[in-house]
């Protein structure tokens, strides 16, 4: 959270981070927010459908299903392509509904025909190249149930990479 004191009319963002670990079902979490407004406390709610076989999802299959932009050497790794395969028998529209816009951009096809495979890309912002982080983006499809997929985006930096980012003399 950027701010924990808000003047009248002010706003802030609250980031909820979830680790899917070894879960294997649909999960709902309701983090509670306590303020000086007093009771009753307020809640936000997240729902996650953890899949054990991400290589056989429906109606899309992502390859890879996790984006890892970790950098162990000096070669800058700032983008990664991935494939989206429509394994259903209907054409689908793809909408990006949530992503860490201060960390990366997501270049997605707007639609994908039945049976088609399309390329997509995640590109890091230069401001975060010296950071390690775990973020994600979520897409929504135009199928009957408006299926959603969340793709984790991870970046870990080797110690030597982080050290080289320090100003000289420190």
């Amino acid at each position: 959270m950027l701010k924990d004191v808000l003047a009248v009319g002010d706003s802030t963002e609250l980031e909820i981070i979830f680790s899917s670990k070894k879960y294997r079902t649909k999960i709902t979490k309701r983090p509670k927010i306590q303020t000086n407004e007093g009771p009753p406390d307020k809640f936000v709610s997240i729902t996650v459908n953890v899949v054990t076989r991400p290589d056989s999802t429906y109606p899309l299959i992502m390859r890879p299903y996790k984006i890892d932009l970790s950098q162990l050497g000096s070669k800058v790794i700032d983008k990664m392509s991935f494939e989206i395969r429509n394994v259903s028998d209907e054409d689908l529209k793809i909408k990006l509904i949530s992503y860490a816009s201060d960390y990366f951009e997501v270049d997605l096809p707007k639609s994908i025909k039945a049976g088609e495979t399309r390329k997509a890309k995640v590109k890091l912002r230069k401001e975060v190249l010296k950071k390690s982080f775990d973020k994600s983006f979520t897409i929504e499809l135009s199928d009957e149930v408006q299926s959603r997929f969340t793709i984790p985006v991870k970046r870990k930096l080797a110690k030597t990479v982080r050290a080289s980012s320090k100003p000289a003399g420190k």
């Binding site: 924990d4 004191v5 009319g9 706003s11 680790s19 983090p31 927010i33 936000v44 959603r148």
Partner: protein, 67 residues
């Protein structure tokens, strides 16, 4: 004349104090729910919710307790 002024002043002060006593912070969360959909195991994912101060006093966020 002085009596009327005093009464008006007292009435105005009473109203001001009453409005100050009634000032209250209020948290509004425009979108309270988010569905991540399908997520692979052993992943860390995140989403941001907007919190808005819509009361008439400063809002302090004291604690966020994981669900």
């Amino acid at each position: 004349m002085n009596n009327i002024r005093a009464i008006v002043l007292i009435a105005v002060l009473t109203l001001l104090l009453a409005s100050l006593a009634m000032a209250a912070p209020r948290l509004t969360i425009p979108v309270k729910e988010f569905n991540f959909g399908y997520v692979p195991q052993n992943s860390t994912i995140s989403h941001k919710f907007w919190l808005v101060s819509t009361g008439d006093d400063t809002l302090k966020i004291l604690k966020v307790i994981p669900g």
